[in-house]
């Protein structure tokens, strides 16, 4: 009987600890612990790494090294690989669509340039214009600012987009619609703009 009581007390204590522990852990989940800047930096790290891997291990390997397929802006018509910039943009479009349903995970990102092949990718807002200029002139540095668009306040981070492979520079230089034809490997060709809403 005594043993049973002890067991019951033990189980009860463990249960209480478990419940309290879970409650603490759950409250930790929702406790604001990172800044918009940290979140933007983390997002950019993922985006940039994925993009580098796609460029290197898929596009460059199959197009330049193994020469089995080409990459094309009109990949459907040309039965070709999607360009790295398009891969990036398609991802951003899917994110925007999926994030629409998630109130607290709402952010957008895009790839822009002061020398865009597609004019729609030219900077539009003042922050985008200043940011792209800043990252082009200050290699290795990012640009951060807040801006109000359509009545909503946003944190905006701008990160340099650099020609990591010779093919990045050569494709851009040779494109029919490019406004700049003298990019070299290592040059800043544009920037990734990440925008996070800052509440109402």
């Amino acid at each position: 009987m005594k043993n049973l009581s002890k067991t019951m007390i033990g189980v009860g204590t463990l249960a209480c600890v478990g419940v309290v522990g879970t409650a603490v852990a759950e409250s930790d989940f929702n406790k604001p612990s990172i800044t918009p800047k940290t979140m933007a930096d983390a997002l950019h790290l993922v985006m940039d790494s994925d993009r580098a891997i796609y460029t290197k291990k898929i596009v460059n390997r199959l197009v330049k090294k193994e020469k089995v397929i080409k990459a094309s802006e009109h990949f459907e018509d040309d039965k070709a690989l999607v360009l790295p910039a398009q891969m990036f943009r398609f991802g951003s479009e899917l994110v925007a669509k999926r994030a629409e349903k998630l109130d607290d995970v709402n952010f957008t990102y895009s790839l822009q340039s002061l020398w865009p092949i597609n004019k729609q990718n030219a900077p539009v807002t003042d922050v985008e214009k200043k940011g792209l200029k800043f990252v082009a002139e200050n290699k290795g540095k990012n640009y951060y600012a807040t801006e109000t668009l359509g009545g909503k306040k946003y944190f905006t981070g701008v990160y340099a987009d650099t020609a990591v492979a010779p093919v990045c520079a050569s494709c851009h230089n040779d494109h029919k619609d490019t406004p700049k034809r003298d990019f070299k490997i290592g040059d800043v060709m544009g920037g990734v703009v990440i925008r996070i809403p800052l509440g109402s």
Binding site: H74, E93, T108, K119
Partner: protein, 469 residues
């Protein structure tokens, strides 16, 4: 005298009260009990929606529809075509906060901004209810990016062969450049081949357990013995792809229900049975003007409901799968021309016989020309396209949405015209309304500038490359 006047007044008031009660009763009946609610239409509908005018709920849901509900109704029917690559201005593009300023001028996230219904006086081509120069809101500085466009008026952006707001897939510069200097008629003129029969193994919905894929003969017929059929029905069926693929009588006349039980035999199966194996074709059929009424649970379309001229003898025939394919024979050649001309009575349709396209079709039927070199009505209006039947697979199917290649007609270029014709000739022909009326008998009398501009643009780029070198 005063009494008489008072009596008259009472009579008038009484009549007014009775009239009002009658009016309220009639309107209430129309609102809540009648299928036909056209009395509430604030104005005629566009040609795209006029067939479903009695089904207000198709767009207005419960009658108290919010803007979001209306938008959802648009997307529910048109959403698939409003995605990339079929739409160069998808809604998602405008939801990006960086475009917030542009939305102040024109809210491109809502379909009704440009396609307001019930406004015939302000509705232009393709159901557009914005002024023709609406592109200026976002492309005001186009002359700087494209000097060739500097002198052009903004109300010419969507002229035939220039730009389409939504489906621009046959008109963007690189596509034009790719097809520069092509002959009017290409040396190799073959339409895509059907491939359903060769892909049956991949068709998930195919009822292969009940009907294994094999050639059936007369001895295999599984219709109940008490049913008697004409020799003609037997012979018709034996000639079809159905008999060649193991699709026996009961597959259509005695459906397998969801609980694996077999339904009662029915002499006249409904359209649902076709969906068992041809769900994609039926789905596309319901997207077009032929089948759209079925989506909102209205009886099938009849030619008399159409706005185009139709033949009187078939005016009251209902439009379902068998209207064009015929039961048992399912003759796709008949469905491709004869079935169309049984109903359509407009100048373009009437001019088909005697057109160069028709000559090619007849030659193919007579075995004087290779398979798939003939041009039927459906070669252009229901072309064989590489269609995504799921997120992961696609196959060549006949697009039964015959509205998909029209409004504007440049949507026909990729799935139909360029299999046989050079792009320049195609653009000129599609811009020539008289030539279209004559079913392309003759040469285009109009020249579209697009290819010339693309040629100039290519030369400009080549020059720039030279300078850089």
């Amino acid at each position: 005298m005063a009494k008489a006047s008072k009596k008259n007044r009472y009579a008038l008031v009484g009549a007014w009260v009775l009239f009002s009660i009658g009016l309220i009763a009639w309107l209430s009946y129309s609102m809540f009990n009648s299928e036909d609610k056209t009395v509430f239409l604030p104005g005629p509908l566009t040609s795209g929606h006029h067939q479903i005018g009695v089904a207000c709920v198709a767009c207005h849901t419960d009658g108290m529809a919010s803007d979001e509900d209306i938008q959802k109704a648009c997307v529910d029917c048109h959403g698939e075509d409003r995605k990339k690559p079929f739409d160069s201005h998808p809604i998602n593009k405008f939801k990006d906060p960086r475009n917030a300023d542009k939305l102040k001028n024109i809210d491109a996230t809502r379909c009704v901004t440009c396609h307001t219904e019930h406004q015939p006086d302000m509705t232009g081509e393709n159901g557009l209810t914005q002024p023709g120069d609406f592109c200026i809101h976002c492309h005001e500085d186009i002359g700087e990016d494209r000097p060739s466009h500097k002198e052009m008026e903004f109300n010419t952006c969507s002229s035939s062969g220039c730009h389409n707001f939504h489906n621009n897939r046959s008109l963007y510069t690189d596509f034009l450049v790719k097809h520069l200097d092509e002959p009017k008629i290409l040396p190799k003129r073959i339409l895509p081949k059907r491939e359903y029969a060769s892909l049956l193994d991949e068709v998930v919905e195919y009822p292969r357990q009940q009907y294994p894929i094999k050639q059936l003969s007369k001895q295999d017929i599984d219709a109940p013995k008490q049913n008697t059929f004409s020799q003609e029905i037997h012979d018709d069926w034996l000639q079809t792809a159905h008999a060649r693929s193991g699709v026996n009588c009961t597959a259509c006349h005695q459906q397998v229900l969801s609980d694996a039980k077999v339904a009662e035999w029915t002499d006249k199966p409904k359209q649902d049975v076709c969906t068992q194996c041809h769900s994609n074709e039926v789905k596309r059929f319901k997207k077009g003007k032929h089948g759209m009424r079925l989506v909102v649970d209205l009886p099938p379309m009849k030619p008399i409901d159409a706005q185009l001229p139709m033949k009187e003898k078939t005016a009251h025939d209902e439009l379902t799968c068998i209207s064009c394919h015929g039961a048992h024979r399912f003759d796709v050649q008949e469905a491709a021309v004869t079935a169309c001309l049984d109903c359509h009575d407009d100048k373009h349709s009437l001019a088909y016989k005697g057109s160069p396209h028709s000559d090619l079709w007849n030659k193919e039927l007579m075995g004087e020309a290779p398979a798939d070199s003939g041009v039927s009505c459906s070669s252009c209006h229901m072309p064989r396209i590489n269609f995504d039947v799921s997120e992961w697979t696609s196959r060549i199917l006949v697009d039964h949405n015959q509205s998909a290649t029209l409004s504007p007609n440049e949507k026909m270029i990729r799935p139909a015209c360029i299999h046989c014709h050079g792009l320049e000739f195609t653009l000129d022909s599609l811009a020539d309304t008289k030539l279209i009326e004559e079913n392309f008998k003759g040469e285009p009398s109009i020249h579209v500038q697009s290819m010339d501009l693309a040629r100039e643009d290519l030369k400009r780029a080549e020059k720039e490359r030279e300078v850089e070198k």
